[in-house]
């Protein structure tokens, strides 16, 4: 957003046609066209003191404490879906990756890769949604970049975001800290995002009222950290769903897990869509849920803090960590049997985030 230090302002410049205009190669070329795109589209949407510095970098004041940083590239298709779009998703995804360390997110960066011919109206919609998500989260986008690739070499728009945050003193949250006896909690209904995206796929479209759960979780997580500072692990179950997240943590910590199918919150509509498509909700992506693992003595306080927050009102304790050198995740089925819950294999769905 700040490639050109001196915005060009010589007499009259015809404004960008945000209704019918298209992205052109020159919009990434470093010249006037790019400067205009920044001045008329990005700058007004994301406006904050850092961007107003209009430099190629943001000058930040070093915060107290340990710093975390996370990056995430967003390539979702379709770009707009029930409950969100690639813009809001790009903010939420990275904020959540920062927040699941227990950190308070401070700043975001945004890198756009645009395809030649992409409608400016759609770009504006995405940028506005992204700016709104960042503002709602209270985290400014402090620096950015735009590139344009030739038609056919991209898919409309790809967005990379990087987030920086700071972890409060005394908080030690990491995927390798799960211990036998710990309780496993989730913050709400699983699989909403994946099913919402799937419902729009061209060869699959079915009508559903399910919306993506895309949301910034840092405030919920702050409340959780406050209620249970001794919490061991936090992770957002995005691609690969709950099953893959639990397997990752089990392997990192060298422990096993047992979860109870009856206690895992899944909406009936999501369950039905998965049934129809031959998918397992445990493997379907989420963009606004968090999995927490904490010592047994703080589980009740943690659950209460989650239930008290709007983004955690359907939270539940779904199982326990056990000792198991094979690091298997097992599930007691509603049916009364027990089975393994393995890693996802291959891709259940392409390009969901």
């Amino acid at each position: 957003m700040s490639e050109n230090p001196k915005p060009v302002k010589r007499g009259y410049i015809r404004p960008l046609d945000l209704k019918h205009g298209k992205v052109e190669l020159s919009h990434g070329g470093g010249g006037r066209a790019m400067s205009q795109l920044i001045d008329e589209l990005f700058q007004p949407a994301f406006d904050n003191p850092y961007l107003r510095q209009a430099n190629d970098q943001a000058l930040l004041t070093r915060p107290e404490g340990r710093i975390v940083m996370a990056t995430d590239s967003h390539v979702v298709s379709p770009l707009f879906f029930p409950g969100g779009d690639i813009g809001s998703l790009a903010v939420h995804g990275t904020l959540n990756d920062v927040a699941t360390s227990g950190a308070r997110p401070l700043w975001l960066s945004a890198g756009f890769i645009l395809e030649e011919g992409f409608p400016l109206a759609d770009l504006k919609r995405i940028v506005d949604s992204m700016a709104a998500a960042a503002r709602a989260a209270g985290v400014p986008v402090v620096t950015g970049d735009t590139k344009v690739v030739e038609r056919g070499k991209g898919d409309g728009v790809f967005i990379n975001t990087t987030g920086v945050g700071v972890v409060p003193e005394g908080i030690e949250i990491s995927g390798d800290r799960a211990r036998p006896g710990d309780r496993i909690l989730v913050s709400g209904f699983l699989g909403d995002h994946g099913v919402a995206i799937m419902s729009l796929r061209e060869n699959l479209s079915f009508s559903t009222t399910i919306e993506s759960d895309s949301a910034a979780l840092h405030e919920l997580i702050a409340a959780m950290v406050e209620a249970a500072p001794a919490m061991h692990c936090l992770r957002d179950p995005t691609r690969g769903g709950l099953a893959s997240t639990l397997n990752e943590i089990a392997r990192q910590s060298g422990v096993g897990m047992i979860i109870r199918e009856d206690d895992i919150p899944v909406r009936e509509e999501v369950d039905a869509a998965c049934e129809l498509l031959g998918l397992d909700p445990l493997y379907v992506a989420n963009e606004g849920k968090v999995v927490a693992i904490c010592p047994p003595e703080s589980a009740d306080a943690l659950l209460a803090a989650m239930l008290a927050h709007p983004l955690g009102r359907d939270a539940a304790i779904i199982g326990e960590v056990i000792a198991d050198e094979h690091a298997f995740v097992q599930m007691e089925t509603s049916f009364g049997g027990r089975r393994n819950v393995d890693w996802i294999s291959g891709e259940q769905l392409p390009r969901i985030c």
């Binding site: 060869n203 699959l204 009936e268 369950d271 039905a272 049934e275 031959g278 094979h326 298997f328 097992q330 089925t333 509603s334 049916f335 009364g336 049997g337 027990r338 089975r339 393994n340 393995d342 294999s345 291959g346």
Partner: protein, 381 residues
């Protein structure tokens, strides 16, 4: 979920399981082959083995359409996409089935072949309509359940005069496979596979009805219980088989009466008969060449037969030497008997077809049952 939860009720399951445990005779074993991958999947996913007494043994049959597809057929599909430049439309499960030379449809796609995953034959037709300057081939696979939709697509293509659409037909027949297993030396003479009865196909039977199984019950004296794919369906069918075996009966019974009749779906059968005819022979993975076990497109629809249009010869290719899929599909071996199970061969990197589809015995064991395997190993050592 209405109409589904009723068949997954844990309380009913425990009552049924107790009845089965009460009725099995401790002096004998019950070796039951579930023909369909759908049943294999249900048994593993719901942990049915945990509920059943040790006298009940499941033998996993070859009813997984992806698993029985021989390498030569996948090679031909890849040849169509790579050498003939067609848009090849395939069901998702087929994408990762290993073909010759460490390739697969998925790898061929990554190398530039135009291979598209579809959910139905209608999607393939749509792609053909939208790409009039390209040849579009539907890679049709599956048992009797997926055959009628392929027949519909062929009829539709002929009605529309869709010149750029054709079908690479690989539809196979359930009764031929069951007969092949019953007549195999392992079952008939050597007795290496004890086989007491069949949990009969669910969806296939909605099309072909229960009648075709009557021959097996009579001729081979093996009871058949047609069962739905829900876990309670499977448990109930186990109880029905235990009762038949205890009483010395060998009949065809229909547990899945909410969907299966004796005659089956006559309209679908008529449609299939109009478009397809029997092949003299067809190679199955695991079973080898089985006479009259598959369908080919009739003369009247010859213009839409990809094998004719592209003059595709069939080349048989042996399976990987270390892969036991053949023996597993015939029920001779269990997945964990295979040397490469879970090591060289995993769902992410399948060596054999049984590790590919969720319905494959190896994939079901690997995905849902590692802890069972490990505890079994621990007990044995």
């Amino acid at each position: 979920m209405k109409y589904v939860d009723e068949f997954r009720d844990g309380k009913v399951a425990r009552t049924l399981a107790k009845t089965i445990a009460d009725e099995v005779r401790p002096d004998r074993r019950y070796h039951l082959m579930e023909f369909c991958g759908g049943h294999t999947h249900a048994i593993s996913r719901y942990g049915l083995r945990d509920l059943l007494p040790s006298e009940i043994h499941f033998i996993h049959g070859p009813g997984c359409p992806v698993c029985v597809l021989p390498i030569g057929r996948i090679d031909s599909a890849i040849e169509l996409a790579r050498d003939h430049g067609v848009i090849l439309c395939s069901y998702g499960d087929t994408m990762r089935v290993p073909a010759s030379g460490r390739t697969s449809l998925l790898r061929a796609k990554a190398e530039g072949a135009d291979i598209r995953m579809v959910y139905s034959s209608a999607d393939a037709l749509k792609i053909a309509r939208e790409n009039p300057d390209r040849e579009v081939v539907f890679f049709a696979i599956g048992f009797e359940t997926t055959t009628p939709p392929t027949a519909v697509a062929l009829r539709q293509a002929r009605t529309e005069g869709l010149k750029n659409f054709s079908v690479f037909a690989n539809h196979v027949l359930t009764p031929s496979a069951i007969q092949n297993i019953l007549e195999s030396p392992e079952v008939r003479e050597l007795g290496t596979i004890p086989l007491d009865g069949f949990i009969g196909p669910s969806h296939v039977s909605t099309i072909i009805g229960s009648q075709p199984y009557e021959f097996f019950a009579e001729e081979f004296q093996k009871p058949v219980v047609i069962a739905g794919f829900e876990p309670l369906d499977v448990l109930q069918s186990v109880l029905m088989l235990v009762r038949q075996l205890n009483e010395g009966r060998a009949e065809v019974e229909n547990q899945f009466s909410r969907a299966v009749t004796r005659e089956g779906n006559l309209k679908a059968q008529g449609l299939v008969a109009e478009v397809f005819e029997l092949r003299e022979r067809f190679e199955w993975r695991g079973l080898g060449e089985v006479p009259y076990s598959a369908l080919r497109i009739r003369e009247a629809y010859r213009d839409f037969d990809a094998e004719v249009r592209f003059d595709l010869p069939y080349r048989s290719v042996p399976d990987h030497k270390a892969c036991d899929c053949g023996a597993i599909l015939r029920g001779v071996k269990q997945p964990q008997d295979c040397k490469v199970f879970g090591t060289v061969c995993t769902p992410d990197n399948p060596l054999g077809s049984c590790m590919v589809s969720a319905e494959g015995a190896c994939a079901a064991y690997y995905t849902y049952g590692q802890f069972t395997k490990d505890s079994a190993v621990a007990e044995a050592s």
